[in-house]
């Protein structure tokens, strides 16, 4: 495959390595404004360097955008990434366009610009923090729109009580696709009967009803407190 990677941030160095690992024989073009930086990036993954004005179609054509299979907009400006996504998708019809959203608030703008997938490292980190602190506070992990599902994660105090109510929800609702119990120490899946305080419960829910389900889970937790079970 032929990949184009634009941007030289902390994240792009790791993403370049991931692309090389996923496609050892692929051709990777690294595109940067400065020739030195483009060269350093390309050397890391045995790729090819192209330099020039990043939004200039001539620069991207030098990297072979007309026949590229993937395009990664990874600069530290979401506005520039949106620009690059628009060029690569709407002008050059690159099949897979991926952008990074440095500020998660800009993810929607990147999707609207034509990105097939938006990477949001900040959102991943903040969700992780929320789930660590989510004892009796279920939190919603929105997944990319094209996946059609979101995750609701919680760590209920009263596991058996809450679990039985959630299982009854599962049997009644089409919107809840799965329920997984995980151990926080090693991340291994557990049988529902073996769960204990502090375990993670992950609900896979349909995206269109994820907010509604979140509210229902919050209500269930409150009710379980009132019942004292």
């Amino acid at each position: 495959m032929r990949h184009i990677v634009v941007g030289s941030t902390h994240f792009s160095a790791f993403i370049l390595k991931a692309i090389r690992e996923a496609d050892p024989g692929g051709i990777i073009y690294t595109v940067e404004r400065s020739p030195e930086v483009a060269e350093i990036m390309s050397k890391q993954i045995n790729g090819k360097a192209v330099h020039g004005l990043l939004t200039d179609p001539a620069t991207l054509e030098n990297a072979g955008i007309k026949i590229a299979d993937t395009f990664f907009a990874l600069t530290d400006s979401d506005a520039l990434n949106a620009n690059l996504v628009e060029l690569s998708k709407k002008i050059y019809s690159v099949p897979l366009v991926v952008a990074i959203s440095n500020n998660p608030e800009n993810a929607e703008i990147l999707y609207k610009s034509g990105a097939n997938y938006v990477l949001s490292p900040v959102e991943n980190i903040t969700n992780e923090v929320k789930s660590l602190l989510s004892i009796d506070r279920p939190s919603l992990y929105p997944l990319p729109t094209n996946m059609g599902v979101d995750l609701i994660i919680m760590r209920p105090v009263n596991t058996l009580g809450i679990l039985s109510t959630i299982i009854s929800m599962l049997s009644n609702q089409e919107d809840v696709k799965d329920l997984i119990a995980l151990s926080p120490s090693d991340g291994k899946m557990k049988n529902p009967e073996e769960t204990e305080r502090g375990d993670f419960f992950v609900l896979v829910v349909r995206k269109i009803s994820s907010n509604e389900i979140l509210k229902k889970v919050e209500e269930l937790i409150k009710k379980s407190y009132k019942r004292g079970n």
Partner: protein, 243 residues
């Protein structure tokens, strides 16, 4: 020629609606962009309802003025891009027209707005002396750090964006280096809140750092000289602040 107006904004709920409605009235304005720096007072929602395109600052560093301006430039589509503070209490159509007029007439590639007052402390004590040393042609500008600017897309395309307070002087140096035409236009009086002294000290250092870094890039001084000058300046500015 289509015009984009960019307002970098953080917690400007009080002013943003009026600023947008004023900018909309300027003939040729194609879009108004608000780059929000994580406001907590509803600025982006008000801006969006008022008809602006809103984007959130990519990096929430402090100071983030350069990040906001850079993002605004990349998000804009116009042939002319004007940057204005969102909190100008007396912003008017005439104010904006004066700023972009030389670009419309093809008399300049970049315009710096100036105001009917003496230039600030950072300008007189830091920016101008350093400009005289390394970029004497730019020392003639009366207010080289003013934040009200406008330029053609081509002019901004040559800028290597500074992310903090050094952005205004960095833009001028890069556009000058590219051989493009820079003019100043007096915009009259600007009614807005002044920054407190500690912020000015930090600003002074970043302005100096930008001029020296660009001078080193342009072969006007060595890396060792640049570091020595910055170290002396940090010491002196620290003393001013402690007084």
């Amino acid at each position: 020629m289509e015009i984009s107006i960019v307002f970098p904004a953080k917690d400007e709920a009080k002013f943003i609606k009026k600023s947008i409605s004023t900018a909309k009235k300027v003939p040729g304005v194609k879009e108004i962009i608000v780059v929000d720096g994580m406001s907590s007072d509803g600025t982006p929602e008000i801006a969006s309802k008022s008809g602006a395109r809103v984007i959130y600052q990519s990096l929430l560093k402090y100071p983030g003025k350069g990040v906001a301006m850079r993002d605004g430039y990349y998000f804009s589509k116009g042939d002319i891009i004007a940057f204005l503070d969102a909190d100008i209490k007396n912003l008017s159509v005439d104010f904006i027209e004066k700023l972009i007029e030389p670009l419309r007439k093809g008399e300049a590639d970049f315009v710096k707005g100036t105001f009917g007052r003496a230039s600030g402390r950072v300008t007189e004590l830091v920016a101008k002396p350093l400009l005289r040393m390394f970029y004497p042609e730019l020392a003639k500008l009366s207010q080289p750090l003013s934040g009200e600017i406008a330029g053609t897309r081509k002019a901004f395309s040559v800028v290597e964006w500074e992310l903090g307070w050094g952005v205004d002087i960095g833009i001028v140096i890069d556009i000058h280096k590219a051989g493009l035409r820079i003019v100043e236009r007096n915009l009259g009086y600007k009614d807005h809140d002044m920054k407190p002294l500690p912020m000015l000290t930090e600003m002074a250092f970043e302005v100096a750092e930008t001029i020296l870094r660009k001078a080193e890039r342009d072969g006007k001084l060595s890396r060792v000289e640049e570091e020595e000058m910055l170290s002396n300046m940090r010491k002196e500015l620290g003393e001013v602040e402690s007084k």
